[in-house]
Amino acid sequence: MRPDIIQILELVRDLLRDEYTEEDFERRRYDTLMMANALSIAARVVADDTVPVVEELGGTQENFIRPDEEEFNPRDSGLWMLNDAALRTLARAIRAGEYDPKTSRHDAALALLKDYAQRAIEIHNPAYFKKETT
């Protein structure tokens, strides 16, 4: 995810260290809420232990998503996070129509993408799904 959450945390640290006095917190409520949000995202990113595994598997992912591959289930494999090269390959193929409806890999690609988006929301804004169901 760009920008890297660590970059954002560095800014939060700088703001707290250099620009905030005690009375600022109420006056700058909006900024304060954003900093709290950044810290919450960071906590969930740090707690998510699947990312390093995915990075190690990165080299295999391009093969994994090629149209001529057999069925796959990203959840079963634990391969929810695609690396940059795999994202580019998949994006190019989608633009070229290789995953259009009625192609053999359409349903699998759709499942992968939905899974990918869902997983990202679970880390970056899990309250989103709760709001949707209430």
């Binding site: 800014l11 950044a38 695609l82 259009d100 993408l113 939905k114 804004n125």
Partner: protein, 338 residues
């Protein structure tokens, strides 16, 4: 007092022909995620502006995103809108000399009201109040779409096309190509768009960010249309779809007109004021595209922080809403239009 105030006072004295100008406060407004907006309280001694005024200064941010217009272009658009009787802040002065405040800016009269979408959508209103407000909004959008500017006035706008949907897909793909990280989910949506193109449309002046959040509301009245930085020729249904898209309902999904009420009320105001006949298939297409466009903007906002030196939390965290926009877009492309 902000360090730029003495230079702004000197500039205002010059352009307003006042004997003296005094700024008593300058407050950065949180609204405006891309450009900088400041509320300036200023007194003019003499000249046509003589007296006390509250002005809004809109200045280029340090960085920007693709397809965002310059301040000079936005000033021209607001001026045209003002002359056309559309509710906009009265434009006053444009300054493109970066020696004055370091970046281009313009000043306009402050208009009363609030544009805070989260507050506006949750304020206590009767059904009738909401209907009335949506009717006003629909009417104002129709007025924008009825503006027929001469090409010389807005020569900076893009080329007119009868296939604005195709143009949008091309533009969004170019925007994605310019970003460092590929976005297969958004590519999925754009490919869906290619297969579901709406009918050709007459090129129309579109605001392209007409939504709750950019509309000033005072009590139950629309007082102004803000943020013209994305205006261009386009399909009028794009503005309708952008207004109604789920991503601009501020969490109140069942109110499909901006989180405020029913889209039928918005459509009624739009149609009564001479807007283009509503094409529901086209509106649906543009609602899907709204999620894609907003997700691209969110990613571009992240890049302002990650690589362009914008040291602000707002653009950085905006990038993190892209997944939920992508998720919603995926849901929409799987279902038939409601």
């Amino acid at each position: 007092m902000e360090s730029f105030c003495p230079r702004l006072e000197a500039y205002l004295r010059h352009v307003s022909h006042a004997r003296s100008v005094s700024i008593s406060s300058a407050e950065r407004l949180t609204a405006g995620a891309i450009q900088e907006n400041w509320l300036i309280a200023v007194s003019f001694d003499g000249g046509p502006m003589g007296g006390k005024h509250e002005l809004v200064l809109r200045r280029d941010a340090i960085t920007s995103i693709g397809n965002s217009r310059s301040r000079a272009e936005e000033f021209a658009l607001i001026t045209l809108a003002h002359q056309s009787g559309i509710k906009v802040p009265k434009p006053l002065y444009l300054c493109t000399d970066i020696d004055v405040l370091g970046r281009s800016f313009f000043l306009m009269q402050k208009i009363v009201g609030s544009a805070d979408g989260r507050v506006i959508t949750r304020e206590d209103r009767t059904r009738s109040d909401r209907r009335n407000l949506l009717t006003q909004m629909g009417r104002e959008l129709a007025l924008i779409h009825r503006v027929k500017p001469s090409l010389s006035v807005l020569s900076f706008l893009g080329k007119k096309t009868h296939q604005p949907a195709k143009s949008a897909i091309l533009r969004y793909r170019n925007a994605l190509d310019a970003l460092p990280q590929a976005a297969p989910i958004l590519e999925w949506g754009l490919r869906w768009g290619e297969r579901h193109l709406p009918k050709p449309a007459n090129p129309t002046l579109c605001h392209r960010d007409f939504r709750i959040g950019n509309l000033m509301i005072k009590d139950n009245h629309l007082t102004g249309v803000l943020d013209w930085e994305f205006a261009d020729w386009g399909d009028p249904m794009e503005d309708v779809g952008w207004f109604c898209a789920k991503c601009w309902r501020f969490g109140l999904s069942d109110r499909d007109a901006g989180g405020l009420g029913k889209r039928e009320d918005f459509y009624a105001g739009y149609s009564a004021a001479g807007g283009t006949p509503i094409d529901t298939d086209s509106v649906w297409f543009w609602e899907v595209m709204a999620h894609i466009r907003w997700a691209i903007i969110a990613r571009e906002q992240g890049e302002r922080f990650a690589t362009q030196g914008e040291r602000s939390l707002e653009p950085a965290l905006t990038a993190y809403i892209a997944p939920q926009l992508e998720w919603e877009m995926m849901q929409m492309t799987e279902q038939t239009r409601p």
